[in-house]
């Protein structure tokens, strides 16, 4: 069976060059903190990788902290800046405020730590978004108080792909002297990310979204900005993240960042072409569909589509049985029955949110993948609509 992977926002396959680096480094086993030559071999690999991550972001190597996943990077910022949940209270004096500003469409790894602070007495401003999923920077400016310690708004949304006005928000945050964090997990490797141009204080990225393995990620912390560690332990990562370095993962992430710097522009051009081919094909072949997210300020990899009268999980499983891997916009299949908070935040009614599918493309996709999807998808949608008591087409047919 032909296999077509259109779920790159969930995770990406290893880049062949990244694979080569991992295989070629399997003998590096030393602890990067050891002073003997085994340790120093590992240390060199880790620091070399740090340079490459920094280069991709136009940061200094010292501004990069390695973590285990995007969620950990996000937790480190939110808990580290507010110094909550921790026995280390060193920063409480310098950051006495208890107000956080964030959007209603953040990833759960930002939303849930902030909800946890809310339960501990923090005030939280959950910014609404417009129908495209855009945050209005003017609302942020209005929401800032003397108590505000952190603003966290994602660079690009994982479900609908909308790109947020991060640079504008950063400018406001800088002017008002509030820390600004952006979760750029979906954006790094797809958009040009220059932390100096953006002017952010913190930026999270994750390895497995850009063709490195799972279990490795990074956090950019602007020089001079102080946070408390969440994972307390040894002196690793400037004392901000205890635990022996994941050498193999880190050097794979370094390679992935090097490749992203070199290949991003040409990759993205082709991916956007395929994405547009898919979007136009769906609109031409299937009636009663809605394309979600901003028409231009959108990740080139992401296409979120709502198919009226049917439910997302059914579409996903029918496509999966024909070799096409996509994801639902709703969380239905993952144990909760509430539709996605992102789709509800852009004002989509529940019944439509249930029928939303996310196609997310990557470097390995070809035009044949898209054409095969466009060949299979109309039939799957039609069959499910014929099964649906809500489909008005049925009545016309009778």
């Amino acid at each position: 069976m032909r296999k077509t992977y259109l779920d790159n926002n969930a995770t990406t396959p290893l880049h062949p060059e990244v694979k080569k680096v991992i295989v070629g480094s399997l003998e590096i086993f030393g602890n990067a903190s050891s002073e003997h030559f085994f340790g120093q071999e590992a240390r060199k690999a880790v620091e070399d990788a740090r340079k490459r991550v920094a280069e991709l972001l136009n940061a200094k190597p010292d501004e990069i902290i390695f973590t285990s996943c995007g969620s950990e990077s996000n937790n480190l910022v939110i808990k580290g800046v507010t110094c909550q949940d921790l026995s280390c209270k060193a920063l409480e004096e310098s950051h006495p405020g208890k107000h956080i500003i964030t959007s209603q469409i953040e990833h759960p790894s930002v939303m849930n730590p902030i909800k946890s602070l809310e339960r501990q007495g923090f005030k939280v401003t959950w910014l609404p978004v417009d129908k495209y999923g855009l945050v209005d920077p003017a609302l942020i400016e209005k929401a800032i108080t003397k108590q505000t310690v952190l603003i966290s708004v994602m660079t690009a949304n994982n479900e609908i792909g909308t790109i947020e006005p991060v640079a504008e928000i950063a400018k406001i945050a800088r002017k008002r002297e509030v820390y600004f964090h952006t979760d750029a997990v979906q954006a790094v490797g797809k958009l040009k990310i220059d932390v100096r141009e953006l002017g952010v204080d913190f930026l999270s990225l994750s390895g497995h979204k850009l063709h490195a393995p799972k279990g490795v990620a990074a956090l950019y912390i602007r020089e001079g900005v102080k946070v408390c560690p969440v994972l307390q332990g040894g002196h690793q990562e400037r004392g901000l993240r205890g635990g022996t370095e994941n050498t193999l993962g880190i050097l794979a992430l370094g390679k992935a960042c090097e490749l992203a710097l070199r290949e991003r522009e040409s990759n993205v051009k082709e991916i956007w072409r395929l994405r547009e081919r898919l979007r136009e094909g769906i609109l031409a072949k299937i009636p009663e569909v809605i394309v979600n997210g901003h028409p231009e300020k959108v990740l080139p990899t992401t296409l979120s589509v709502t198919f009226r009268y049917i439910e997302g999980e059914s579409i996903l499983l029918r496509l999966s049985s024909k070799g096409i891997a996509v994801s639902t916009g709703s969380a239905c299949s993952s144990g909760t029955l509430e539709p996605s908070h992102v789709l509800l935040a852009i004002g989509m009614p529940h019944e439509l949110a249930h029928g939303t599918i996310r196609f997310s493309l990557g470097i390995e996709n070809t035009q044949e993948d898209i054409d095969y999807t466009l060949e299979v998808l109309p039939g799957v949608i039609q069959e499910l609509r014929e099964m649906s008591p809500l489909w008005p087409g049925n009545k016309r047919a009778c």
Binding site: E311, R318, L337, H350, S388, L390, C398
Partner: protein
């Protein structure tokens, strides 16, 4: 995969999908807002035997599979027999459903009850006296059952959906009652399986 092979089979190859234009009874349950709508048509002969049943479903794989297998289970049965179908029998026939999908089987059994009640000319059962599960907040048993049909499968989820347990008594009286109702809908644990 969160579903077993039988569920997937009934989802990929649904039996009895369609409508019966001159049906003797039609039952529709659920709502598009919640993500599940099921409609079941039945044909009954003069001896009171269900000769045909068809379904249409808007919903996830387990909703399609539950409604499809439920139609198979009632064809050939006396309406009074078929009226006794329970959600647990639907779950068992499918060889099990994930806990958070049990409500699909509840909806399938409900749709059949509705279709048969329509055929029998019975209005949906109205309890003369309202049975309150949570007396502090005046939450009726029906509301708890409604919450289960919409996907609640723990006491906490029912509390969230209905407001039960949040009254003065703090759930002392109603928590065990809700647990009892939940147990009536949960598939029975078979011996020898964990």
């Amino acid at each position: 995969m969160i579903y077993n092979e039988k569920v997937i089979d009934y989802f990929q190859n649904p039996r009895n999908m369609g409508e019966i234009p001159d049906a003797d009874g039609v039952g529709e349950v659920g709502s598009p807002v919640c993500g599940d709508v099921m409609k079941i048509w039945i044909k009954v002969d003069k001896n009171g035997v269900i000769t045909d049943a068809k379904f249409k479903t808007f919903g996830c794989a387990s909703a399609v599979a539950s409604s499809s297998i439920a139609t198979e289970m009632i064809i050939g049965k006396q309406v009074k027999e078929a009226r006794k179908i329970t959600n647990q029998q639907v779950v068992d026939a499918l060889g099990g459903l994930p806990e958070h999908k049990i409500h699909c089987s509840v909806l399938a059994a409900d749709a059949i009850h509705r279709a048969i009640d329509k055929y029998l000319g019975v209005a949906p059962a109205v309890t003369e006296e309202i049975e309150y599960v949570c007396k502090c907040q005046q939450i009726a048993r029906e509301e708890v059952e409604e919450a289960i049909a919409h996907g609640a499968y723990t006491v906490e989820m029912i509390a969230e959906a209905t407001g039960a347990t949040k009254g003065e008594c703090g759930g002392v009286r109603c928590k065990p009652l809700i647990e009892d109702i939940l147990n009536q809908y949960r598939p029975k644990k078979k011996k020898g399986t964990s």
